[in-house]
Amino acid sequence: MSAIPALAVHKLTKLFTDPSQPEAVAVGVRGVSFEVGRGEVVGLIGESGCGKSTLGRCVVGLQQPDDGDVVVDGTIFSALTASRKRSFRKAIQIVFQRPETSLNPRMSVFTFIKQAMRNFDTVPRNKERARMAELAQLVGLKDDALDRFPHQLSGGERQRVAIMRALACEPSVIVLDEPTSALDVSVQAQVLRTLKDLQSQVGTSFLFISHDVAVVRYICSRVMVMYLGVVVEEGPSELVLAVPAHPYTKALLAAAPRVKPLPEPGLSLRGELVLGDVRPGECPVRARCPLAHERCHEAPPMTELPGGQRAACWLAADQAAALSPSVFDPSKKVSQ
């Protein structure tokens, strides 16, 4: 990996308190750190209210974090003055869940994309048409779609326009916030295919926010699972989503709808997230976790597991300790 990641987030915190429940735990993001390498697709999954969208919005600067840094291409975003920030906005773009609300209904696709290009001067004016055609092909839009207005396009085409606009700014990172949740299954498959092709052709990094485990498994090489503002498990998707270490990830996986149902029902959480049940300083999942025990009143540390998988759970800590300690002792070299 090259030295500077496309996106690095350090201890990002942004909390919201519910005025009707002032003593309950605040929701949002609490001290999340991660990196997205160049050309990497990182998934962020969790239920609604876990803070995944807040994290996405803080990363692109739509929300001011309470604490922590967002570093894009080695530049600390939050340390910049307002005027310098503008030139760096180009480097990180976002695609929202509902394209019908993120496109301008009064602008044709051409004008809309042109605006994005001129805003950041990414393309010389005499080459706009050519670049536009190139981008349209990249995201799988027909040429005649460029002269249409959003209401003349289908849902899938609109989402392609939103992705095209993000690409027109030539960013280093694109945050995709549930980009396929509003689409029908067949259209979702088309857009996912396009995203996968894009990633191999353009080399842009993606932060893919979704609640759909299957979609994340399909498109992401690395995944983070969030619960109540903290990352509870992370690692390569073929590990985290196949042999999850955290009970929450297990429950999330077991709950995912399948064409071929599992032979036996997996782990399931108790009830819904009730903020009043969560005490500060303990494992956030404890109140709903079927495997919770006494130790869970103390927040578990992030434990390293083989293959780059990490989980914040006492059970994972036991699992790691049970494996031969030499594997995890950094002072000894492991020959393999």
């Binding site: 029908d184 299954v185 067949s186 498959a189 295919r193 979609v215 709808p257 399948r258 064409v259």
Partner: protein, 320 residues
């Protein structure tokens, strides 16, 4: 069969816009047995909600029922008699919608709403007791939630309150129109499991409308798959999933990413209404990899094969 509770027979609906008539539901037939969880699946715009709403007399304005009959218990009448069909809503059909918070009255506590649903049909002796009981049935507690307003409860709780209202009339049939789309995966699974249990315990039939095949795969016994207003495959769910026959069913399954074994997705080409829309033809042919000249010849007849009926010319001449 005698245990059929609810059936549609050749239901057809036209939409009339600017004087132009389009057939948006084309000879849809399906049969739901007593106490069965029945899945109705298709992409958005395939006519699944419209057919079910028309079958209880709630066809939207601008739609005209062009033909077909609806049978519910002993009551059989032409689908065009929308007013008559509406009466079924007070005789054992309940509805559950996608947006539960929208279905509840924002100005009334949820406890009162369940109370009103209970009193709608009959005189209730022990009102407080029955309300409490209904809350318990849907897995909520009246003491915690009864005095709250819809905006103070979560989406999953709101859907359960809507369930309590729907169950208050002790229906024999519940039509659930994408009840879990707005919910989280874990809550979704809980609600589906609950619906499946209700079917068994109360001998209530449920028609579950969904756009995602994988949602119905676990809990439904029978299934019908709709495309552009036509039923393409209908019958036993296990048989259909074991060997999907219609090209559309096969395409739908291939287009969904699989959690357990990642594989390349094969999107369906084109869109639901992108093809020719003549009445007497297959409406999937423009997206079909097995397209043949005789696809345009007429509406494909139902071919019975391994516990399901498939509507495709591919199977018409091939003996089973």
């Amino acid at each position: 069969m005698s245990d059929i509770l609810f059936s549609l027979d050749e239901l057809s609906i036209d939409s009339i816009r600017d004087g132009e008539r389009r057939r948006i539901v084309d000879h849809v037939s399906l049969a739901v047995r007593r106490g069965e969880l029945y899945g109705l699946v298709g992409e958005s715009g395939s006519g699944k909600s419209i057919s079910m709403m028309a079958s209880v007399g709630l066809a939207a304005s601008g739609l005209e029922v062009a033909g077909g009959t609806v049978r519910f218990a002993a009551d059989q009448r032409p689908a065009a008699d929308q007013k008559g069909l509406r009466r079924n809503l007070s005789r054992g059909v309940s509805l559950l919608f996608q947006n539960a918070k929208g279905a509840l009255n924002p100005f009334m506590t949820v406890g009162r709403q369940v109370e009103r649903a209970l009193r709608q049909k009959r005189r209730v002796r022990d009102l407080a007791g029955e309300v409490d009981n209904l809350f318990r049935v849907v897995g909520l507690s009246w003491r915690d939630l009864g005095r709250k307003y819809p905006h103070q409860i979560s989406g999953g709780q709101a859907q359960r309150v809507a369930m309590a209202c729907a169950l208050a009339t002790e229906p024999a049939l519940l039509i659930a129109d994408e009840p879990t789309t707005a919910l989280d995966v874990t809550t979704e699974r809980e609600l589906l499991r609950f619906l499946a249990r209700l079917c068994v315990e109360r001998e209530m039939a449920i028609v579950l409308i969904a756009h995602n095949l994988s949602l119905v795969s676990e809990y439904c016994r029978s299934l019908s798959i709709m495309h552009a207003g036509q039923v393409v495959e209908e019958g036993d769910l296990k048989a259909i999933f074991a060997r999907p026959l219609h090209p559309y069913t096969q395409g739908l399954i291939r287009a969904v990413p699989d959690v357990d074994s990642p594989r390349e997705l094969v999107p369906l080409v084109g869109s639901v209404w992108g093809g020719p829309q003549g009445i007497e033809r297959c409406r999937f042919s423009h997206r079909c990899p097995h397209r043949r000249p005789d696809c345009d010849r007429g509406r494909p007849a139902a071919v019975d094969r391994d516990g399901r009926a498939v509507h495709c010319v591919l199977y018409e001449e091939v003996p089973a």
